[in-house]
Symmetry: C2
Subunit: 498 residues, 2 copies
C-alpha cells in the first residue's frame, strides 16, 4: 500500500496545484485584472476547473483510491483519514451527471443575473422564479447525495461535514430563548456613545494601521500580503502564500479594522496548516464553521476585548490622535461593542448577528423541506425581522436581496457563520484555562501563546478530525451555546453596566 | 475535415488557457508574490507546464493533427498555416526524450546558479564549466532537431523561425562595415549635452508621465495595466489582458521613459493580435524579431524622433518643468539621442547597441560550431569589445557575465534584438510612404494612423506569414540593413550637425 499511497498523494498534489492556480486567477481578477480581460479569464478558469475535475475522476486514480480504501487497515491514522475523505468527496462527485452539473451551473448563472436585476429594482419578484428553479435543483441534489434525517443536511455537508439539523435546531432554539432575552435587556440600558468612531479616518492612515494590527496578531507578511477589494476576503495558494484583502471607509473606523482582524484570523488558520500535508485533506481546513471560528475568535473574542485595546489603544492614538482625544481603553472598548439591531447582516454587532443567521437558517431549511415557498418569501423574511429584531424592512434590497449566497446556490452555508462564533467562544474559554494569564498577555500586547495554542489544537490537524471531533478533543465537550452566552454575559455586563 | 479542425482548435485553446495561466503565475510572482510563496509557486508552474505538455503530445491530438496535415488541401490558407505550424512544433517536441528534457533543465538550473555565483565574484571562471556543459547539450539539441546549413540555425529557429546564418552574416557584416565607420564619424563630432536628463526626476511624476505616454501611443488600459518590476517586461494572458512593467530611476529620465515606450510597443502588438484566433498560431506573434520590431519602432523610430517630442515636450515640461527650463524639442531630441559607447548592452544607445549584438552573435555561433571554447571566452569577449567599441572591459561582471541569456540556455536569441531594429527601420520607411503626412501627424500628437497601419500590416496576421514573408509582403523587399543605415544617417546628421 505504500506505493499506492504515494501515487495517491502525487495526484492529490497535482489537483491542488491546479486548484490553487485557479485561486490565483480569482485573486488576480479581483485585484488586478483590467476589465476587458474578463471573458478570457472566465474561459481559463473553466478550462482549469475541467482539468482538475478530469484528474479527480480519472479511472486510474479511482482504482488506486478504491484499493487504498479496501486496505485501509494498512495505513496509519492520518493516511486513513485522507483516503476516506477523498473517497467520500469522489463518491459525491460521481453522483452528479454531466447533465445535472451543467443544469445547476446554468441555473446559478441565471439566478445570479436575476438577483442583480432584482437588487437594482429593489424588487424580490424579479428574483423569485430563478430562485425557485434553483431550489428545485437543490432538492434534486439532496436526493442524489442522500441524507439520514433531513434533506437539508445533504446541502450543509459540503460546507460543514457531518452537521445535523437536530443539533442546529438546539443551538438556534437557544439563540431564540436566551439571546433574544439578553438583547432586550441591553436595549433597556443606557446607550453607549460611539460617535467618535464615525469621524474622518483618513485612508492611508487606516491602511497603515491595519497592516500594523495584522502584524501584531501574528500574520506573516513573508507568506502573504494585503490588498484593497470591495468585499474583503482571504485566499490561499499554499500555507506559504495566504492573501487577505480589506476595504476602507473614511467615515467609519469599524469597517476596515474588524475586516482586517477577521480576515487575519482566517489567514492565520491557513498559514498554520501543515505544509507537508499540502494537497491532502490533512492539509486543509476542517469546515467553514471551524474556519469561521478562527476569524471570529480573533475578531471578537480577542479583537473586541478590553485587554486587546489596553495593548493597542496607543497604536490607534498614534494614527488617529485627534479623533481619540480623551478616549481611554475602556471608553474605546465600550464604543466598539455597541449593540444595536440593524437590517443588514454584515453591519451587525456580534449579538444581533445570530438573529440574522437564525432567520436565514429557518428559511433555507423550510425551502428545502417545503415549509416555505419562494412565492412570498420576502414577506416571510420581513415577518421574521419584525419578530426577532423588531425591525421593519423598508424594501427588498435591505431585506431578502441583501446577500449573494442564495443567488449563487449556496444553500446550507449560512449556519456556519453562527457555528463559527459558538466554536470560537468554546475554544477561547478552553484557551483561557490552558494558557496561564492569557488575558494579561494580551493586555501586554502578546498574542503569540494564543496563536501557538490554536496552531497546536486546531491548525496543525487539517481535516484529520471533523468539527465535532475537534471540539470534543479540545474542550472535552460537544458544541454548546452556553459558552457563547457566558462570554456575552461577562462582556456586556461591563459595557452596559448591567 | 471541418470536425477535425474544430477539434484541433478546441485543444489548442485548452493548451493556450493553461499556458496563459502559467503566464499569470509568472506575472504574479514578479509583482505580488510574498517571498515564502516561491517553492509552491514553482511546483504549481511545473505541474501546469506538465499538463500543457501532456495535452500537446496526446495521441488523439496527434492523430487528428496528422489527419489534418494529410488533408490540408481541404483547409483554407490560414487553417493550413495553423496546422502546419502546430505540426512543426509538435515534431520538434517529439524529438526530445524525457531524459534529454530533464538533463537540459538540470543543466540550466546549474548554469543559472553558477552564473549568479560568478557575478557575485565577478569571475567568469566560476561560470565556465556549467556553461560548457550547457553548450554541449545545445550542440546535441542541434543534431536532434536537425538543420540545413549551420547547426546554430536549429537553435535560432525557436526564436526566429526560418532565420539563416548566411543572412545574418550579411547583416552583421554590414554592421561592421557601415556602422563602425558611422559611429567613428559621430565620435569625432562635437558632443551633445544631455546632463539635464540626469537631474532629479521624482518617482511619482515619472510614473504618472509614463502612464500618460503609454496612453498617447494607444496602449489600451482597459486591456492591460502597468506595474513596477526590477526588469521591465510585457506579458499577456489574452489580447484583452496585456500587462507591462517598468522601473523608475530618479536620477535618470531615460530609464523609465524608453522602457515604457519599448514595452508599450510590445504590448500594442499583443493587444492587436486577433481575438478570434486565440490559442492558434494565427493569433500569436510571428517571432521575437518581429516582436522586437514593434517595440523598437515605437521606442526609437517614433519615441526618439523630433516630431514625437514636438508633440510631447509640453507634457514633459508639465511634469518636470524645472529640469527642462529652456529645453526645446530640438535640444531635447539631441539629448535623448546622444551616442556613446558603453560596456553594458541594456544601457546602450541605438547605434552602438548592434555591436553588442554582433559580438554575442559571433560568440554563440562560434561556440556551437567549435570556433570558440568556453575556456577563455571572457578573453574573446574582451577582445571584441576592444575591437568594435574601443572599450576596455574592467571585469567579467561588466563583460561576459552581464546578460542572463546564456545562463538560461537561450543561445540563438540575441540576434533577434538587432533583427527587430532592422525590421523596424524598414517597416517605418514603408509606413511613411503609405501614410501621407505621418510625421506631421506625429508632430500633432496623433499616432493613431501609424498604429492602424501596424495593426493591418503586422498585428492582425499572427503567425500566418513568417518574418521573411511578412517583410516581403509589407515592403516588397527582403530585410535589408540599408533602411536602418539611412534612418540613422538622416537622424544623426541633424543631431551631430554632420
Amino acid at each position: 500500500m505504500k506505493e499506492n499511497y504515494k501515487k495517491y498523494v502525487s495526484t492529490m498534489r497535482k489537483i491542488a496545484d491546479v486548484n490553487n492556480t485557479i485561486a490565483v486567477l480569482g485573486w488576480d481578477k479581483e485585484i488586478n485584472m483590467p476589465p476587458k480581460g474578463a471573458p478570457f479569464r472566465s474561459q481559463q478558469v473553466a478550462t482549469l476547473s475541467g482539468i482538475a475535475h478530469e484528474i479527480f475522476l480519472d479511472a486510474d486514480f479511482a482504482d488506486n483510491l478504491n484499493a487504498l480504501v479496501k486496505n485501509k487497515k494498512k495505513l496509519n491514522f492520518k493516511q486513513r483519514k485522507n483516503v476516506e475523505l477523498t473517497y467520500k468527496s469522489q463518491t459525491r462527485s460521481q453522483k452528479f451527471s454531466t447533465e445535472f452539473v451543467m443544469r445547476n451551473s446554468k441555473a446559478i448563472s441565471k439566478s445570479y443575473e436575476a438577483w442583480l436585476a432584482a437588487r437594482k429594482a429593489r424588487d424580490y419578484n424579479l428574483f423569485k422564479e430563478a430562485l425557485g428553479n434553483l431550489v428545485e435543483i437543490k432538492k434534486e441534489e439532496c436526493e442524489l447525495v442522500g441524507y439520514k434525517d433531513h434533506p437539508y443536511e445533504a446541502l450543509m455537508d459540503q460546507f460543514e461535514p457531518g452537521a445535523k439539523v437536530a443539533d442546529l435546531d438546539v443551538l438556534f432554539s437557544d439563540v431564540k430563548k436566551k439571546l433574544i432575552r439578553f438583547t432586550k435587556k441591553i436595549a433597556a440600558c443606557e446607550q453607549v456613545d460611539n460617535s467618535f468612531l464615525f469621524k474622518k479616518y483618513p485612508h492611508q492612515k487606516q491602511w497603515d494601521f491595519g497592516l500594523e494590527i495584522l502584524k501584531r496578531i501574528g500574520y506573516d507578511f513573508e507568506a502573504g500580503r494585503q490588498d484593497i477589494s470591495p468585499h474583503p476576503f482571504t485566499t490561499n495558494f499554499a500555507p506559504t502564500d495566504v492573501r487577505v484583502t480589506t476595504r476602507v471607509n473614511e467615515k467609519n473606523f469599524n469597517s476596515m479594522t474588524w475586516g482586517c482582524i477577521h480576515e487575519g484570523g482566517h489567514a492565520l488558520y491557513e498559514q498554520g496548516l501543515p505544509v507537508n500535508e499540502y494537497g491532502l485533506p490533512s492539509g486543509q481546513a476542517v469546515s467553514l464553521g471551524i474556519h469561521e471560528s478562527q476569524s471570529r475568535l480573533w475578531e471578537n473574542n480577542v479583537g473586541r476585548s478590553l485587554p486587546f485595546w489596553e495593548a493597542n489603544i496607543g497604536l490607534a492614538k498614534k494614527y488617529f490622535g485627534s479623533n481619540l482625544k480623551g478616549v481611554g481603553a475602556m471608553k474605546f472598548f465600550k464604543a466598539i461593542n455597541k449593540v444595536n439591531p440593524s437590517l443588514i447582516r454584515v453591519e451587525s454587532d456580534e449579538l444581533y448577528y445570530h438573529f440574522h443567521i437564525l432567520i436565514r437558517y429557518e428559511i433555507e431549511k423550510g425551502l428545502i423541506d417545503g415549509t416555505y415557498s419562494v412565492d412570498n418569501l420576502n414577506e416571510v423574511w420581513n415577518e421574521k425581522y419584525k419578530e426577532y429584531l423588531g425591525l421593519k424592512v423598508p424594501n427588498d434590497l435591505k431585506g431578502i436581496l441583501q446577500d449573494v449566497h442564495w443567488a449563487y446556490g449556496s444553500i446550507g452555508y449560512f449556519p456556519t457563520y453562527s457555528l463559527g462564533s459558538f466554536y470560537a467562544a468554546q475554544f477561547y474559554a478552553k484557551a483561557k484555562k490552558d494558557i496561564r494569564g492569557l488575558e494579561k498577555q494580551i493586555e501586554a500586547g502578546d498574542t503569540s501563546k494564543l496563536l501557538e495554542w490554536l496552531r497546536e489544537n486546531v491548525h496543525q490537524h487539517g481535516k484529520t478530525y471533523t468539527a465535532a471531533q475537534l471540539c470534543k478533543r479540545i474542550t472535552g465537550e460537544e458544541l454548546d451555546f452556553k459558552y457563547f452566552m457566558s462570554y456575552a454575559r461577562k462582556k456586556y455586563k461591563v459595557i452596559y453596566d448591567m
